[in-house]
Structures are given as structure tokens and as C-alpha cells.
Amino acid sequence: MNAQFLLGKIIRSVITLWITVSLAFVLLRLAGDPAEALIPPDAGPEVVEYYRVKWGFDKPIHVQYFKYFGALVRGDFGFSLHTGKPVHDIVFQKVPNTLLLGGTAFLIALFVGIPLGVLAALKRNSLIDRVVMSFSVFAFAMPNFFFGLLLILSAAMIFHTFVGAGELTFWSLILPACTLGLANVGSLARFTRSTVLETLNKPFMAAALAKGVGMSRRIVHHALPNAAIPIVTLLGLSLGGLIAGSVVTETVFGWPGVGSLLIRAVQTRDLGVVQFIVLMVASTMTAVNLMVDLLYLVIDPRIRVK
């Protein structure tokens, strides 16, 4: 039965992917003629026309669509209009950087946000709670780009370190990772606090107390596993977001990742690259979603089908 459940989920994920990629395909073609954007303006109309035909932009959109999809299915993701290289080579080159940044940011969110939230819930209405909650409001009210600039400035003034574009050092990783992680720390801490509080008020927590179970065991064995169910949902969303949403941070810090690549590709209408990045981000999101669904099954027996 669980295999069937899984199969259903996978089929739905594939459909989601297909819809996303198709939408991206149509929207990008509505955004203007790529041939005109790519060819220098002083080139004659016959040059533009030559490339338009060469790249297939002269064909009706459904023909282009089927050609594109046929290639996708065969594992051919297309080529960059700019450099002529296969898009997956260009993008995959940048993926490790983005993963490194996104992963670090995610770990920061996880290991700072959740403990802060639990702490605030346990010490409700105390000074600690208020400090944590104020910090969390600050964290997600602060715009990414601004906080990033602040961090760069403070690092320069306090530690006399300059974060240069393109180099990979400890500082050049930790500053953008903090920037990217910060907003997630804020929302995660707040959310964890409210779910843990809600769980602490459940009758089974009183029952555990009445059984003679000590404080730490009550929290670790009863409160946290129950509070985890909604937190996992939020974690899934933010994990997907960290991989897709690093555009601003990567630009501010000059981080050589997928985000910066996407910006450049959009500016130059490098359709192949943009499309591949959309496909990749959509796949990650769906995969993370699938993982979250499976995790529910592990955590919550009520969701398991008998």
C-alpha cells in the first residue's frame, strides 16, 4: 500500500515538473525575440534573420515546444545561445558553489532557528523569550541585500577582511551564508516556538508529567517529536527556497553560483540556460516536497495507510 502511495506521489511530481517547464517555455518566448537581443544592434536584419532560422525561432511555437520536449526526453537539454556550449555543462559547473552556500545557510537556519524556538517556548514570557522573538522579527524584516551589505561593511571594519568577488575563502562563504540563513532563522524560530508551545499544552504532556517523567525526557521524547510534524513542512519549503532563492545574495556577494548565472542569462535572453535552471529548481522543489511527504510517514503513524 505504501508503494502505491509512493507511486502516486511520484506521478504527481512528474506532472508538476511538466507544467512548470511548459509554463517557463511559453513565458520566455513571449518575452521578446532572443535573436534580436543577442545579435549586436549594428548587424543587419539579414544576420538576425539568419540566426533566427538557425536557432529555430522562426517556427511556430508548438513546433518549437515539441522539438524542445523531444530533446529533453532524450537527455539533450539544449545549448547556450551565447557560448554554444551544452547548458548542463555551464550550469552544473556552478551547482557545487550554490549547494555549498545553500547548504551552509540551511544548517545555520536549522541549528540556530530550532533551538532558539524551543528555548523561547520553554521560557515563555521570560526575558529570553522576548529577546528571541524580537530577534526573529528583526531577522525576517531585514531585506537580504541590505543585511548582506551591512555584513560586508562590518567584516571590513571589525575584522579588516574584504570579501572579494569570485574567491572562495571562509569569510566569503560565511557572510553570504549568514545573510541567506538569517531570514530562515527568524521564521523557523518563531514557528518552532508556537508549535512547541501548542504541544506543551496538549493533555498527553500533562499525562507524561503525571507518570513521573522528568522535564528533559518529556521534551525530547514527547514534545519535540510531535512538534516536528509542522516544522518539517516549513523546513522543506525553506530548503527548496535556499537552492532557488539565492539570486539576491549571490549577486550582492558576487558569489559564483547558479543565482548569478541566472541573472546574467536572463539579461542576455540566453533561453537555453534560463530554461535549464528553471527545470533544475523545479526538480529540486518537487524532490524536497516528496521527501517531506515521506518524512511525514516516518514521523506520524496517523498518516500511514493501514
Binding site: M1, A206, A210, K211, G212, H221, H222, P301
Partner: protein, 551 residues
């Protein structure tokens, strides 16, 4: 067996946070419990009975503080609530049973492991030993197939089974004192009878002292050796079971006892010749539950139910949870499709009437629901809540408002209530408002879905009286859904007993109580707690009469 004094509570007071409606949650409470004895703490909501139980175990919510008084357990004062010593006493020497059994179990842990946890935290038995012990416990609390129960999660068990698991947890280390806080309130009457029997048996076999907290005098009659009646945090009367039931000394105790409806229905006095307002002909409703894409499982939520309701008559539908009584009500309201059978409103068939055809008819049937707190829009003033229906059905605004004021008067509320919001009223008052709202459309039929179940017994008696008075005055018919046989007995002319979607019995209430035809009805009647006590016969004394007149 010698009687040991297990618990002595000596002028215990617990302070409420500043700004509450009174200063103390409980004030100067005194009582003692001996081994092999049950003391019942009885009172209406807000009387402080649960707080007393929590204070003993050192489990008061953060906002409450014990102000003064002593709690002696086996002659020694109990340690500080947060201390390690107290933690060791909880679950081993003093154990607790809770109101909502399903919620008292961790939903994502197998129940066997939850019972085992008691052994683990109190450092008893090895892992395999404790497993065997848990299975023994399950057996001793009457759970079938202990091995399977051990591996189950709470949602896979029924309410009664969950409560047995909770009781097994409480008994694991053979505590000297058992605190049971409304342990059967959330359960069906037949399940309740089983649990009460189990608790009584444990008192004898384990020689434990039991502090039993309840609002239900029927339950008190079944389990109590001694009784302490509480009101607004103060003890108003204490005594043995017989003393309280036979010679209650306090006026409040007498009022409470007399509010409990008797199991003796009055003879049917209803005029049988009046016109028919509602008729159901073999109504069925089938639910199907999807198992996966190509399979589904269907069951009959309501099966072949037929009845008729006359003007001015009250028909009760009784049954335990899941028997289909609410679904039947939803079918009659056409909130749910009817899969077969026919429904007539007067002589008009409404089984398949469209929403458009139903709209003008809707005002003929009005509903009063169970929870007066959630069934009023918190942002709507009372006057508007009552007048809204008539205005929608085309009444002039001014007339509708005048009528609303008159209705408020009929349900015993002041005209000044009209301009206030629901949160300014008590539960009983809100239920009066709901009744006024239902009557505003001058319905032929009033559907009441467990309309008095959430109310305290004295308020419940008032609302039942009000319904009878209004029915006499306006002549509407009532279809009254309830799980409570006492309420049904006191209000209904005829009764339908339902079980698993089917109509088990249908007839005049008096006949049905006197000579029940089906085994199920008999078992329901038999399971009703305190069935042998005739509460209305409890004597009033002169001071009560004086008070009653002055009211």
C-alpha cells in the same frame, strides 16, 4: 483490612491570577481519603474540582499558585511540586486518569511503550520484564488481545480502549492514591459503565484510595463512598454517599440534585391528532471511504429510518457516538444528500428539492446546536444575530428588531442584552440566544442537536424548562438529538433509539423506558449511571421553597 488514611488535605487554597472573576480557585478545602475508599468531588464547571486534583499532584498550571494549606500523603507533607522527590511520587505512589483518554496518549508512540515508560522512568524491571508486565496489565484492565494493543497507536483504539490503556498506566506501579478527573465524561454510556465497574473493582482489589472528580451525580451514585460538593472554589457540603443522596443539608446540593432529570418519563400527554409537520420514509445515507484509486469501502451511516413528527410534539433521537443520529439530522436539513427514501416537510416532498426550492422552506426548520460558544458569530451583536434571519426572509428591519426584542424577553433575557456581543454572556445565556435566533423565523420544527449537552446540570434544567414553555406557547415540534437518556426521558414524547445507522426502536418514551423491546435499548438503560435514584423526589425544605418563591 485496616483503613489507612492515605491523603489528608487541610485548608488548601489556590490563588487565581489577579484580575480573575474571583480571588481564589479553591479556598480552604478539607478532606481525607482512606485506602479502599472513593471520594467524589462534585461540582459544576468553575467549581475548582479539577484544580484541587492538580494541586495535590503538584501539577497546577503556571498561572495558579498554591497559597496556603497542607497536603499530607500517608501522614507526611508532599514535597515541592518541582522537586525530584515529587517527580518520583507521581506515577508510582499517586497516579492520575484523565478526561479525554485519546488526547492523554502521545499520538505518535505505540501505547505499549507509553505504559512501559512508567517502569523506565521509575527504574523498575528490565526491558523484557516490563513488556510482560504491560501485557499483564492490559489483560487485567480488560483489554482484548494485549499483544496487538501493545503495538497499536492511540488512533487505532476506541475511546474506551484508550481509557483502559491510561488506567493500566496509572496502575502500573500499584499507586496508593488514584486521582480520576472526569474519566468517563468523554465516553459513551455503555463504555462508561464498563470503566466505572473497572474503577470500582480496582478499589477493592488494590485497596487503593480514589479521588474521583466529576460533574455527574449519576456517576457519583455508582462510585462514591464519600462526597464533597464544591461551588465557586468552596466546599459546600461533605458527607457519605447515602447522606448526600438521602438527606442533603445544603440548599445548593439539593438544587443540583433536583436538576438531574429522572429516568422516569412522564406519561405521554401529547395530543395525537394534530397535523403532521415532518415525515421520513426509509431514509438511507451511504458513506464511502476511498481506500485507493480503484477501491472504496462503503457503509450505511443511516439505514432505513422512518418516523413522523406532529405539530407540538417532541421526538427524541438517542444513541451513542457514531450511531448516525447527526447524519440523520443533516439529511433532514438537506445539508447532506439522501441516498434513498423520502423526506416530507408538511405534505411537500423535499428529498430532491433544489437549493432554490429549499430556500423559502428553510425557515420552517431551525436548528439549535451543541456548543453555544461557537454557534454564535462573535462579531455580531445579539439583536442582529436574531433579526438577521427574518430580514433575509423579507421582513422589515424595524419589525424584525421589535420581534427580536420580544423573543429575548420570551427566552428570559433582558432587552438590554440586544446591544451586546456573545462573549458578554454565559454558556446558558448563549444557548437562550441561540433558541431565540431559531424561533425568530417562527419555525414549525426546531432541531436540537445535543442542545443541552455542553451545559452544567442546573443550567441544563433551566434550558429544558424553557424549551417546554416555548413549545407550549408557540406550538412548534421539536426533533431532539441527544446521547443522554435522562434528558430524553424528561423532554420527549416519543423516542427513536439508533445504533450503527439503524433504527433499533421507535415508540412513546414512557413505553420504551418501561418495557424496552430490544436488547440494545435495555443495555443502554441498564448502563445509565444512577438509574435507580429518583432525583426529583429529593425533598426540598422550607428554606428552599422560600428561595424558589423569591426567585
Amino acid at each position: 483490612m485496616a483503613l489507612d488514611k492515605i491523603l489528608e488535605v487541610d485548608s488548601l487554597s489556590v490563588a487565581l491570577p489577579p484580575g480573575s472573576d474571583r480571588e481564589q480557585a479553591i479556598e480552604n478545602i478539607d478532606f481525607s481519603i482512606y485506602s479502599g475508599e472513593t471520594l467524589c468531588l462534585v461540582g459544576e464547571s468553575g467549581s475548582g474540582k479539577s484544580v484541587t486534583g492538580q494541586a495535590i499532584l503538584g501539577m497546577l498550571p503556571g498561572t495558579l499558585k498554591q497559597k496556603s494549606g497542607k497536603v499530607l500523603f500517608q501522614g507526611r507533607p508532599l514535597p515541592d511540586a518541582d522537586s525530584l522527590e515529587m517527580q518520583k511520587i507521581r506515577g508510582s505512589e499517586i497516579a492520575m486518569i484523565f478526561q479525554e483518554p485519546q488526547a492523554a496518549l502521545n499520538p505518535i508512540q505505540r501505547v505499549g511503550r507509553q505504559v512501559e515508560e512508567v517502569f523506565k522512568v521509575h527504574g523498575q524491571y528490565s526491558k523484557t520484564q516490563s513488556r510482560t508486565r504491560v501485557l499483564d496489565l492490559f489483560d487485567s484492565v480488560g483489554l482484548p488481545n494485549p499483544i496487538q494493543i501493545y503495538r497499536s497507536y492511540p488512533h487505532q483504539l476506541s475511546g474506551g480502549q484508550c481509557q483502559r490503556v491510561v488506567i493500566a498506566t496509572a496502575l502500573a506501579l500499584q499507586p496508593k492514591l488514584l486521582i480520576a478527573d472526569e474519566p468517563t465524561t468523554a465516553l459513551d454510556v455503555t463504555t462508561q459503565a464498563g470503566i466505572l465497574e473497572l474503577i470500582n473493582e480496582l478499589k477493592r482489589s488494590q485497596n487503593a484510595a480514589i479521588l474521583f472528580i466529576t460533574h455527574d451525580f449519576g456517576v457519583v451514585a455508582e462510585v462514591a463512598d464519600h462526597v464533597l460538593v464544591m461551588r465557586d472554589g468552596v466546599s459546600v457540603e461533605a458527607g457519605s454517599r447515602n447522606q448526600i443522596f438521602e438527606h442533603p443539608r445544603n440548599h445548593y446540593t439539593r438544587t443540583l440534585l433536583r436538576s438531574v432529570p429522572d429516568m422516569l418519563p412522564p406519561e405521554n400527554l401529547h395530543d395525537r391528532d394534530s397535523e403532521l409537520v415532518l415525515r421520513a420514509e426509509s431514509v438511507s445515507r451511504i458513506y464511502s471511504k476511498t481506500i485507493n484509486w480503484y477501491q472504496s469501502h462503503s457503509f450505511n451511516a443511516v439505514e432505513n429510518v422512518s418516523f413522523s413528527l406532529k405539530r407540538g410534539q417532541t421526538l427524541g433521537i438517542v444513541g451513542e457516538s457514531g450511531c448516525g443520529k447527526s447524519t440523520l439530522l443533516r439529511c433532514i436539513l438537506r445539508l447532506e444528500a439522501v441516498d434513498s427514501g423520502r423526506i416530507f416537510l408538511g405534505d411537500r416532498e423535499i428529498t430532491h428539492a433544489s437549493e432554490q426550492q429549499l430556500q423559502p422552506l428553510r425557515k420552517k426548520i431551525q436548528v439549535v446546536l451543541q456548543d453555544p460558544y461557537t454557534s454564535l458569530n462573535p462579531r455580531q451583536k445579539i439583536l442582529n444575530a436574531i433579526a438577521e434571519g427574518p430580514i433575509i426572509h423579507g421582513k422589515e428591519k424595524r419589525d424584525a428588531h421589535l420581534q427580536a426584542l420580544a423573543l429575548l424577553d420570551s427566552v428570559g433575557l433582558n432587552a438590554s442584552s440586544a446591544d451586546r456581543y456573545p462573549h458578554e454572556f454565559s454558556g446558558g445565556q448563549r444557548q437562550r440566544i441561540c433558541i431565540a435566533r431559531a424561533l425568530a423565523l417562527e419555525p414549525e420544527i426546531l432541531l436540537a442537536d445535543e442542545a443541552v449537552s455542553a451545559l452544567d446540570v442546573s443550567i441544563q434544567a433551566q434550558i429544558l424548562d424553557l424549551l417546554r414553555d416555548l413549545q407550549r406557547k408557540f406550538g412548534f415540534a421539536i426533533l431532539f438529538v441527544t446521547h443522554d437518556l435522562r434528558v430524553a426521558a424528561s423532554l420527549c414524547d416519543e423516542l427513536i433509539v439508533m445504533r450503527q445507522g439503524k433504527m433499533v426502536e421507535y415508540g412513546p418514551t414512557a413505553d420504551l423506558f418501561r418495557t424496552p423491546q430490544s436488547d440494545y435499548t435495555r443495555s443502554l438503560l441498564h448502563a445509565s449511571p444512577g438509574k435507580d435514584i429518583q432525583f426529583s423526589a429529593i425533598a426540598l425544605d422550607r428554606s428552599d421553597n422560600a428561595l424558589e418563591v423569591s426567585k
